[in-house]
Every structure is written in structure tokens, then in C-alpha cells.
């Protein structure tokens, strides 16, 4: 009998072309680019190189896409530097024959949302993008990781990347999640437990009954934030949930290819008895809605808890927590539900999918927001789907602005900033200082929790509103 293997090994090994010391030359099946990829295209052109396999790269405008006046296309981009970025992507992709979904394309959306939505993201393959949240794509059972501009240039030029094999970490979440507890709460609890550097150098496989029970949207939320624990990638074994999701998508294999793919995909899950370098376990049934109180994603706590006391922390965490509380304008010991908010934002590659919008709408129905609030669906397709279901009306009746699809206030590169000193309840993935704008204060939480905060003006346990 052959040695039991992990899913990661089953994807990694067949993609190795050459070995050199600890490094391998790894083949990249699919690559994605966005406006921020201009350094890589620039370097490529400077060296007189072209994209070697243009059909394996897909481009989309997301980071700088405005959320207002989108029907005007490029002319609607008020900020000239942002417009230049969007135009540059258009030019670079045209010069290299790369498919590009621009501002007004019906398939436009956040890169980590459209990948699976279009069926470009598939089990068993290697996926790259010049963006750290590429780990999202691992939710279908792929090895997907982010790179910087130089490595992106190499991938564009060669379709390969030198890489050292990561270690493996299995995170098992068993038990049933309680009502009001979502995939976002699972991943925030995981990061709070293992820390922002807890998975550095590792690829995470998420397993256990709580993970299996998640929809594809939920699985993408979990894998998305793997990087917030330092992991190179996150992945979840493909199963019928995955296959049902992918069947019939525009770029999914068709007919005979679909059948062949399915036979292969079913062999991917980790074999019984396969060894991981590390394993971590969480009990899903004990998890609560979780929010961040600090300025790194690990500084998170259940909504029922008080803000932790830095003095009770280990020395390495204490200094950071003290600085974080001062930046956030919070005091240790205060109940988390006493935190008042000034803004609410729903969207991003973490929580901008249809189920996220449904979960928020369920809270908003028949209620009114008491702070400025806006939603930017993860893709233009999701926006249309939500409108067909009438979700847009629920949001706008509650006082949310219903905007176009973009990264929007996640990193605020398109100008959707949160003003300095203001506190935002956000469904995004990073609460770093200044992430949503200079001096902005971010609390990460699930979309339903953002909705609850928006209607009460303070951080609220969504379970009291269900």
C-alpha cells in the first residue's frame, strides 16, 4: 500500500518541474492580475518580455474601481490617478492578449470572488495572484497563494515560480455552529487562538464537521483569512458541495471533461492516516460571534467578553495590545457591546458573497440604520443576483447605500475611506492601523454582526436580533 498523502502533497507533487536544493520550480495553472499588478507588467515590458501563456491569466479591475457612477465607465472615475491605474491594466492586458474584465464588464468583481464564480478556480490546480488573499481560492481544494510584483513578473513570463515546500497544518473544527455564528466567526476564533504568525510557513487544511457543513461561500470566507494567521495558503477538501457549486460555471470543464475532472477531483482529499506537521483543534459548538478589538486580526474576542486586559497577556502580546487599545480609543475591561460605531461596511473578498448579503439582510429587514452604512457586493454578478432576490431593497429601505462592486473600504484605495478617528464595523479582513483610511478604526466581524451594529449604533450580539 502506498503511503497516505495529504491533499496538499497530491496537488504539490504533480506540479513540480525541477528541484534545486530546498526549492522547486512549481507550475502555475491559473494566475490572476488586478490594477496593482502594474509594477510586474512594467518590469516585464522593460525586459522585453511578454506574457508566456496569456490564456492562463485573467485580469479584473477591483481595487481602484469606484462604487459610485459606475454606469459612466472610466469617465466616472473622479480620481485621475485611480483612473490611470484602471486604464493601465486595460493597456497592459491588451498588449499581452490577457482576458480583462474592466469596470463595465458584467463579469467584473473582486478577483478572489470572481475566480470561483466563473469556474476558473478549480480543485487540484495551482493558483497565483499578486495579492495576499489568493488563499481564498483554496476553498475548492486548490493550492492558491499570493506573491509580490517580482514573482508575479516571473509567473507572467514563465508560468512557473521557485518555491520552498511549506509545512502542513491541519485545523479541525468539529461540532455544529450555533445559530448566528458564521464562517467569519470560525476564522476569527482560529486566528485569535493561533496568532497572526501562528501559521507562518505553513499551508493550512481546514477539516472537521463544522467545515464540511459550510457552503462554498462560507469556505471561501475561512480560506480567505488564512494569510491573517501568516499561512501561505488555506485549503478545504473538495466534495459534493464543491462539485455542485462548480458545475455549469462559464470556465468549468464541460461534458466529457467534467466527468474526467470529477474522477480526478474525488482522489484529492487527504488520505486517512496522512501526517501533518502540526494539528490544531477547535470545538465549533462553543464558538460565539467574534469581533476584533485591536489592530491585528488576532486581537479578537467573543462578543460576550470584555476587552481583554493587556497586563494579563504574555510580554510579547502586551506591548502590541496596549498600543492597539490606544489607537482604537478603547479601555481594557469594558464590555465589547459598549463600543459605539460611526460607520458600517459590508463587502470584500472575505464577506461580499450572496450568502453574506442574505445574512445581513435578514437582520436589516424592518429595521433602520443609525450610522452611515454601505454595501459593495463582491462581484457585479452577485449584485445582479441580489437585486433579483430583492435584497437591494431591504438594504436601501434600512438606509444602507447599495453601491457597485469593488474592494471599496477594505483598503480604501478607490477613495471609499473611513475618516480619521471614526470607528467602522466592517465585514473585511484586516484591522491594521490606517487600513480603511488614515486614522480609521476598524472592527472586523461577520456581515450579520455589521448589520446588527448598523441598526443599534454599537457592537451588538446579532443573536439578540434574530
Amino acid at each position: 500500500m502506498s503511503t497516505p498523502r495529504t491533499m496538499f502533497e497530491k496537488i504539490w507533487e504533480p506540479h513540480v518541474i525541477v528541484r534545486e536544493g530546498d526549492q522547486v520550480l512549481l507550475y502555475v495553472d491559473r494566475n490572476f492580475v488586478h490594477e496593482g499588478s502594474f509594477h510586474a507588467f512594467g518590469a516585464l515590458a522593460k525586459e522585453g518580455l511578454k506574457v508566456r501563456r496569456p490564456r492562463q491569466t485573467t485580469a479584473v479591475a477591483d481595487h481602484y474601481a469606484p462604487t459610485l457612477n459606475r454606469e459612466l465607465g472610466l469617465a466616472g472615475v473622479a480620481d485621475s490617478e485611480a483612473r490611470d491605474m484602471i486604464e493601465l491594466l486595460e493597456k497592459n492586458t491588451a498588449a499581452n492578449g490577457v482576458e480583462h474584465f474592466g469596470l463595465d464588464h458584467p463579469r467584473q468583481g473582486i478577483v478572489h470572488v470572481i475566480g470561483a464564480e466563473l469556474g476558473l478556480t478549480q480543485p487540484g490546480i495551482t493558483i497565483t495572484c499578486g495579492d495576499s488573499h489568493t488563499s481564498t481560492h483554496g476553498a475548492v481544494g486548490a493550492y492558491a497563494f499570493g506573491t509580490g510584483a517580482s514573482q508575479l513578473k516571473q509567473i507572467l513570463a514563465t508560468q512557473c515560480i521557485w518555491q520552498k515546500r511549506p509545512k502542513t497544518l491541519r485545523i479541525v473544527v468539529d461540532g455544529a455552529l450555533r445559530p448566528g455564528v458564521s464562517a467569519k466567526d470560525v476564522i476569527l476564533a482560529i486566528i485569535a487562538k493561533i496568532g497572526i504568525g501562528g501559521a507562518t510557513g505553513h499551508v493550512i487544511e481546514y477539516a472537521g464537521s463544522a467545515i464540511r457543513a459550510l457552503s462554498m461561500d462560507g469556505r471561501m470566507t475561512v480560506c480567505n483569512m488564512s494569510i491573517e494567521a501568516g499561512a501561505r495558503a488555506g485549503m478545504i477538501a473538495p466534495d459534493d458541495t464543491t462539485f455542485e457549486y462548480l458545475q455549469g460555471r462559464p470556465y468549468s470543464p464541460k461534458n466529457g471533461d467534467w466527468e474526467r475532472a470529477l474522477v480526478w477531483w474525488r482522489t484529492l482529499p487527504t488520505d486517512d492516516g496522512a501526517a501533518f506537521d502540526r494539528e490544531v483543534r477547535l470545538e465549533g459548538s462553543t464558538l460565539e460571534p467574534t469581533i476584533t478589538w485591536g489592530t491585528i486580526p488576532e486581537e479578537a474576542a467573543p462578543v460576550s467578553a470584555p476587552i481583554p486586559e493587556p497586563r494579563a497577556m504574555s510580554a510579547d502580546k502586551r506591548a502590541h495590545a496596549e498600543q492597539a487599545l490606544s489607537y482604537m480609543g478603547l479601555t481594557a475591561g469594558m464590555p465589547i457591546t459598549d463600543i459605539k460605531i460611526d460607520r458600517a461596511f459590508i463587502g470584500t473578498c472575505t464577506n461580499g458573497r450572496i450568502e453574506d448579503l442574505r445574512a445581513a439582510a435578514a437582520v436589516l429587514k424592518g429595521r433602520k440604520v443609525v450610522v452611515p452604512a454601505w454595501v459593495s457586493p463582491g462581484s457585479s454578478q452577485i449584485k445582479r443576483d441580489a437585486e433579483a432576490e430583492g435584497l437591494d431593497r431591504i438594504f436601501t429601505d434600512a438606509g444602507f447605500e447599495w453601491r457597485a462592486s469593488s474592494c471599496s473600504s477594505c483598503a480604501a484605495m478607490n477613495g471609499d475611506t473611513v475618516p480619521a478617528g471614526m470607528r467602522c464595523a466592517s465585514s473585511s479582513n484586516r484591522n491594521f492601523e490606517g487600513r480603511q483610511g488614515k486614522g480609521a478604526r476598524t472592527h472586523l466581524m461577520s456581515p450579520a454582526m455589521v448589520a446588527a451594529a448598523a441598526v443599534t449604533g454599537r457592537i451588538t450580539d446579532v443573536r439578540t436580533l434574530l
Binding site: P14, I17, V18, G21, D22, Q23, L25, Y27, D29, R30, G36, H39, L49, R55, Q56, Y64, A82, I125, D131, S132, G146, T147, G148, A149, S150, Q151, Q154, A157, T158, Q159, C160, W162, K164, I196, G197, T200, G201, G230, R232, P253, K254, D257, R260, A261, W264, I296, D316, A319, H320, Q323, A411, A412, M413, R430, F432, E433, G434, R435, K438, G439
Partner: protein, 204 residues
């Protein structure tokens, strides 16, 4: 790429743990073009370095005269975590920083440093802590890094050995460009593609 062999330079202590790349360069500067005449140095640690009026904060370490010309940073754990933005490395490089010493690094940032001929040096947490204390006690003192010997030496001449992947070391020493290194294997790549896409034609 400029090779990296040895470096003796003023070192600055960065006392914050988990310095994310949003801190090293805020997102709003990532749209800036980088040319030989206009580099990324104005954006380095922008919001830590400057106050709301754009005036230097005197308490920020790189604003203090002794550390202004720092070529080495000694940081806390998890340096460069978060966003994959290579702009963080451009901002460091364009400001004259060619090496960062820390107990651990964000994975993507570590690779980005190597790609640009910067040296990320991993030393134990208490060593980094002791080095920062030393640098604060004697502002403006230098550290020496010897990549071939894999050592860092402080002002007293104490040497600390560090580990680095052989492949990375070799590329840094020679200043090799990776595209060239990959294309040496073009034959193997093409053979791989033929097999791979024969089996899974829908991926091509």
C-alpha cells in the same frame, strides 16, 4: 539585481511587533509610479513618521538624527506581515535600507526582499531584543552583516550566526535574475506542459 555580499551600516531599532506592510507603506501610495528619479522613499512608514500636518514626529526612530541614514533595521517578530505589496520593499530600498533583522517575517514579504536583493536576516527573539537595546543605548552605532559567512556582528565584535536557504543565498550573492533562472529549464517546462495539458486539456 544588485548582488548582496556584506553590509556595514547604521542600524535602527524598530520596537513594534508585527509591523504589517500597510504600516511600511500605506495603501494610498501604491498607485505611485516608481522611476529612477522619483522613488518610494517619501512613503516609508509614512503615517508613523509624519503627523496629520505632514510634520515629522520627533519620537519616531527614523526621524532621529542618529538613525536617519540607517541601512539596517532590527525589528520584532513577524516583520512585513499582511498585504503582499512589494511597494513595502521599494520604500525600504529607496530609503537606503538593505537588510532587516527580525525573529520572523511575513512569508510574502520575505520573498519580496530576496527578489529585490535585500537581505532578511532571521535571528532569535532575545538576540533581536538585545541588539535593539544596544542600538538604543548607543544611537548611530553600526552592525555588519556578512552573507557568505552568515553572520551579524555588533559594535563590540560579537558575532551572531544566521540561517538562510542555500538557493536564496546563492541568488543574493550573484544578484541573479529569476526569470533567467527559470527559462534555463524551458525544455523541462514545455515537456511538463505537454503531459499536463494532454491529461487535462480544459486547463490549457
Amino acid at each position: 539585481m544588485k548582488p548582496f555580499t556584506t553590509l556595514t551600516a547604521v542600524a535602527a531599532p524598530i520596537d513594534i511587533a508585527s509591523v504589517d506592510t500597510d504600516k511600511i507603506i500605506p495603501a494610498r501610495f501604491l498607485r505611485k509610479l516608481r522611476t529612477p528619479t522619483s522613488g518610494y522613499e517619501p512613503y516609508l512608514f509614512h503615517d508613523l513618521r509624519l503627523d496629520a500636518e505632514g510634520k515629522e514626529r520627533p519620537d519616531f526612530v527614523l526621524n532621529q538624527p542618529a538613525y536617519r541614514n540607517a541601512g539596517i533595521l532590527v525589528a520584532g517578530p513577524n516583520f512585513g506581515c499582511g498585504s503582499s505589496r512589494e511597494g513595502a520593499v521599494y520604500a525600504l530600498m529607496d530609503s537606503g535600507v538593505r537588510a532587516v533583522i527580525a525573529p520572523s517575517f511575513g512569508d510574502i514579504h520575505y520573498a519580496n526582499e530576496i527578489q529585490n536583493g535585500m537581505l532578511p536576516v532571521t535571528l532569535a527573539e532575545d538576540t533581536c531584543h538585545a541588539l535593539r537595546e544596544q542600538l538604543r543605548a548607543k544611537p548611530g552605532s553600526q552592525l555588519s552583516i556578512d552573507l557568505p559567512a552568515q553572520t551579524v556582528s555588533d559594535a563590540q565584535g560579537t558575532k551572531y550566526a544566521f540561517q538562510i536557504d542555500e538557493v536564496y543565498k546563492d541568488r543574493l550573492l550573484k544578484g541573479l535574475d529569476e526569470v533567467g533562472l527559470v527559462l534555463q529549464h524551458l525544455g523541462a517546462i514545455e515537456a511538463f506542459e505537454q503531459r499536463h495539458f494532454n491529461e487535462r486539456p480544459w486547463l490549457a
